[in-house]
């Protein structure tokens, strides 16, 4: 039993960190594909060794801490994002019996950990002691905290349907029907909130390079910037895998492939959708984002929860 867990933890960490690094390449290739270019195609087969080159480059860059920064927090902040996202992966069921922590409050744990990610942005922006970084951090904080609200509310639809917070059991409950069908609205809200939560385009307002240099990580360089980078890609992977777990039946799938493979395939599809979003969407204004969240998504997610619960009660009677 003990040995099994070490294998799972090691395997999950290995897969995730490699996925996050591989996404550098994947994203650039797919963006290039959709812009009728090739993208990185020189180093190694299909240019995949760009990952290696990029990582080496990050390691050898000068790791500069601005003299005006709050040094302890400045160093600490990038680690938070990676740590919190990796922690959140602990509850994701990658396959039957392949889960680091089979918690009965899995969803709450996921929400808690993704909330902790806000600290990285806020602290990073604050410790940089730079006005653009601070503006980015402010935006990031309000955006992520707001969107967490309806992210949580949208999730509750699946919780109502399955009657459990345990992600593994939620997957099992989808044997009859994936929750995307009864919870289409919930899925859409969760997806939009997930984009905002990972502050990916089109909701990359904390970074907004056309307005804020690079937003909260303007002052970061070298591997500290790399940590934010990896954190972002891990975040995409996390949200994709949560979408798959909650709405697309997790590792369930026809038996000719093992569950893990189904999970990876489905997650990959959603990662691609994230990249497609980046390729096609304009960035909304900051106030538009907040307005959209609070005036549209928030009531919708409440309605969704209410409706789901009512129908569930009706059916159970």
């Amino acid at each position: 039993m003990e040995a099994h867990y070490w294998w799972v933890i090691g395997g999950v960490l290995f897969t995730l960190l490699n996925t996050a690094a591989g996404l550098i390449w994947l994203e650039r290739r797919m963006l290039a594909l959709w812009q009728d270019r090739y993208g990185p195609n020189r180093a190694g087969p299909f240019g995949i060794l760009i990952v290696l080159a990029d990582t080496l480059k990050l390691f050898f860059k000068e790791d500069w801490i601005p003299p005006f920064a709050d040094k302890v927090v400045f160093v600490f902040a990038p680690a938070v994002v990676v740590a919190s996202v990796l922690m959140a992966f602990a509850v994701v069921p990658f396959g039957p019996n392949i889960v680091v922590a089979d918690m009965n409050i899995g969803i709450l744990f996921f929400l808690a950990m993704s909330s902790l990610g806000v600290y990285s942005i806020v602290l990073g922006g604050w410790a940089s002691n730079n006005k653009y970084a601070l503006l980015g951090a402010m935006r990031g904080a309000s955006q992520m905290i707001s969107y967490e609200v309806f992210m949580g509310l949208a999730l509750m639809g699946t919780v109502v349907l399955s009657g459990t917070f345990n992600l593994g059991k939620i997957v099992e409950a989808q044997r009859g029907m994936w929750y995307i069908f009864p919870q289409l609205l919930g899925f859409l809200i969760f997806f939009i909130a997930g984009i905002a939560e990972t502050h990916r385009l089109p909701f990359d307002i904390p970074e907004a390079e056309s307005e804020l240099v690079a937003g909260f990580h303007s002052e970061y360089s070298g591997m500290k910037f790399g940590m934010f980078f990896i954190g972002e890609y891990l975040g995409i992977t996390l949200i994709s895998s949560m979408i798959v777990t909650l709405y697309f039946g997790g590792w369930l799938g026809p038996a000719f492939l093992p569950g893990v493979i189904w999970f990876i395939l489905k997650t990959f599809v959603f990662i691609s959708v994230f990249i497609l979003l980046r390729a096609s969407m304009p960035r909304p204004r900051y106030d538009q984002l907040m307005e959209y969240g609070w005036k549209v998504l928030f009531p919708l997610s409440l309605l969704n929860l209410l409706g789901t619960a009512a129908i569930k009660l009706l059916i159970d009677k």
């Binding site: 594909l33 959709w34 812009q35 009728d36 270019r37 090739y38 497609l276 979003l277 390729a279 096609s280 969407m281």
Partner: protein, 171 residues
């Protein structure tokens, strides 16, 4: 909302489009004939140098990257004793080509001039002279100009009338 989904779909359709990139070192982009690239000194149809060392190119050059020294051959032809273009300064504006009265200096469709050593970007006359008439084949300055050189006296150029004897009163 619909327009966002539509734009996502249209972007997705680009998956099946042809890619526009030239895979450069293997696949070269076709350069137009009037591409302003590497500067060369061209030659007459006879193989003689076209440049007559008039300094107009050096005067026209906005970055002063051309330097030369005119001299005269025993046969009466003017030519540059040295001709030097500093390509680390050159901005490939083509003003020298426009200024040149003898079509000698020409910009060619070639841009692959990268060097590891900056000094190698300074081209001397032997680097600049090419065995070609460039964009104006058949043009021979000394055959159309009225200047006398060895083997071609005054009045012997193409379409040139014999010189008028200004000392004579006859019509």
């Amino acid at each position: 909302m619909f327009s966002l989904l539509r734009s996502m779909w249209l972007v997705f359709l680009h998956t099946f489009h042809k890619r526009e990139t030239y895979q450069y070192p293997e696949e070269k982009a076709p350069l137009p004939a009037r591409w302003r690239g590497r500067i060369a000194l061209t030659r007459d149809p006879d193989g003689g140098e076209r440049c007559v060392g008039c300094y107009l190119c050096a005067a026209a050059c906005p970055v002063d990257c051309i330097s030369l020294q005119a001299t005269e051959a025993p046969d009466g032809r003017r030519y540059p004793s040295f001709f030097r273009i500093n390509f680390s300064r050159c901005i490939f504006c083509g003003f020298c080509e426009e200024a040149c009265p003898t079509y000698a200096i020409q910009l060619l469709p070639d841009f692959e001039m990268a060097e590891y050593d900056r000094q190698n970007l300074v081209y001397e006359k032997e680097d600049l002279l090419i065995n070609s008439q460039g964009k104006y084949p058949g043009y021979n300055y000394y055959r159309v100009a009225g200047m006398a050189i060895e083997g071609k006296d005054k009045g012997e150029a193409q379409h040139e009338e014999p010189p008028v004897n200004i000392k004579s009163l006859l019509p």
